[in-house]
């Protein structure tokens, strides 16, 4: 997984609430057996017309937002389906940081597995930051310091220490969990005694 530390970009702003993962990446693109190549289909139905042409007034089709690494969006971002294709599509497009006032749980967790930082801020701060999208000015993210720097201002955000460590170091959490193999084995032994039916024994 790609490490995440600092990021600077003009943010793109989608002022829509409840953006679901069907909107982020519709089902016809879930037939892939790969993690890559989904960026061109990110927000497909809002981004392209029936003929497959780019819809000009959609933010991510416009310069400089085509190259945004930061996406600001309305509350409850990523609700609905558990598809990890949603963060894969964002990542493949080049977005490695999302800013919203709230996220659906599964999407939130999926982001961290893919080197994407989902930041939670109050709605007022979101409105303030969205001005930078309107003015096409850069903002900076510093994960180590847990802050967003914009103009002469700073906003602090919070992120779970374990998740932060994994992002900063690009850690594979399967390897981390396998380091606890002894504990897993002990649990399993105990389980076989206490609930033998679990293993169909």
């Amino acid at each position: 997984m790609q490490k995440f530390n600092k990021l600077k970009s003009i943010p793109a702003y989608l002022p829509i609430v409840n953006i679901d993962t069907d909107m982020i990446i519709p089902k016809q693109f879930l037939k892939t057996i790969k993690r890559t190549g989904l960026g061109k289909n990110l927000f497909f139905e809002m981004r392209y017309d029936d003929q497959g042409k780019e819809i000009n007034n959609f933010a991510l089709n416009q310069s400089p937002f085509k190259d945004s690494k930061i996406l600001i969006a309305g509350k409850n971002f990523g609700c609905g389906s558990s598809r990890e294709h949603a963060p894969w599509a964002l990542l493949d497009f080049g977005i490695t940081c999302v800013i919203s006032s709230s996220y659906a749980d599964i999407f939130y967790s999926n982001c961290f597995k893919n080197g994407i930082l989902p930041i939670i801020l109050e709605e007022e701060k979101i409105k303030e930051l969205s001005e930078y999208a309107n003015r096409k000015e850069e903002i900076s993210i510093d994960l180590e310091e847990e802050k967003i720097i914009y103009g002469n201002n700073e906003i602090k955000f919070q992120v779970d220490p374990f998740k932060k460590k994994c992002l900063l170091e690009g850690l594979d959490d399967i390897a981390l969990s396998l380091n606890k193999s002894d504990k897993i084995e002990n649990f399993e032994k105990d389980l076989k005694n206490k609930k033998p039916w679990i293993f169909h024994d």
Binding site: P15, I16, V17, N18, D20, D22, M23, P26, K27, Q28, L30, K31, T32, I33, K34, R35, E45, D50, G74, K75, N76, C79, G80, S81, S82, R83, E84, P87, S102, Y103, A104, D105, I106, S109, N110, K113, N114, D160, P161, F162, D173, I174, L176, S177, L178, K180, K183, I184, F187, E188, L191, K195, P196, W197, I198, F199, H200, D201
Partner: protein
Amino acid sequence: MSTTLYDKIWNDHLVDQQEDGTALLFVDRHLVHEVTSPQAFEGLRNSNRKVRHPNLTLAVADHNVPTTDRTKGIADAESKIQVDTLEANCKEFGVQLFGMDDKRQGIVHIIGPEQGFTQPGTVIVCGDSHTATHGAFGSLAFGIGTSEVEHVLATQTLVQKKGKNFRINVNGQLPLGVTSKDVILQIIGKIGTAGGTGSVIEYAGDLIRSLSVEQRMTICNMTIEGGARAGLIAPDEKIFNYLKGKPMSPKGDNWEKALNYWKGLKTDDNASFDQELNLNAGEILPMITWGTSPQDVITIDGKVPNPQSENDEDKKNSIERSLKYMGLKPDMAAKDIKIDKVFIGSCTNGRIEDLREAAKILKDKKISSHVSAMVVPGSGLVKEQAEQEGLDKIFVNSGFEWREPGCSMCLAMNADKLKPEERCASTSNRNFEGRQGRGGRTHLVSPGMAAAAAISGNLDDVRKYQN
């Protein structure tokens, strides 16, 4: 200390607890389907890892499978690759798979309970948000992403943080024609699609206890539409009777041991919840969704909302956007919404009781001439049972198509989909933009309401067709 059912299951599965609150949780049952697993198996292969417990893992292809004649295989090349990949992965890693020709094949959340793979007090995961369904058995069941699927395959555990306890009490009796689908739509309408975010919802109260096992599954299934990853109900005699004798249920001595453990699975009387909501079942009416989020609910006697009467700017914009997408006018009566299609099926309402409920309404009636309608049973076993009861004939005689099992038009990954601007009364779980096909318009309803809409040609009150 008094604990909730969620607390008990959580505590009973703790492999390791870190100081920062992160825990390693043991997973008893892992369901796998073709859409969210290929990258996980590929990850295992790339890191030379095995599936830790193939016998705690069960796979089935459901999202991509055709619901028409399967003897010719899958026509769509990409769908075929995905289904073939699942088959190859299961073979390579020793995971049991119900193939497309197996009569046990069906929607992953229907086959788990049907086989007795789903059991009370277990932690069940699947790369699918509707895993919440299995909570009806008093298990902690939730959807995960593909990276987590890989994690579970490799370690039989999952890194999690404990959620909050949220209890929804539903007491009283449901009026005639009102079902558990209406109950959950009502709940989502009340708490909103983010209302349960960060929580596990326990459903309680005498109405919940009075529901059948399958009706409970419908409620737990749509918990995710209220933002909570898991919904659960304390198991009781109905659950134990349902599981007894199922192929993968505990047998002999183990059955007695399991039963003894299962009977203790309930929230302590004075356990505290972070949030509670009380509903009176007697006040719930047949519901429909009018918009593009499952929280956009009104009763069948109601009217579509008017953005002008909304003060909150975000909500106003959201209503306008939904009305435009749905092709509806503000203040329009629900019953004036004309439909083109009807879909009965999905992990929400594709079980035998759902088909019986719809068939009861359709018996000796014809569907409206401008409506095309289909029934997609949730599994091969549901289909077989329905045919034994003659339900297929009732559906076909009324004008419905009788299909093979799968996810079908709930998410339209296979060939079953809406055309742009087509309007569908659907027993599925999501009315998101484009969910059932690009530009398609979905109204979520109960199976009885779907049948009523098919007959009338517009959204209609199921009570009109009940004797």
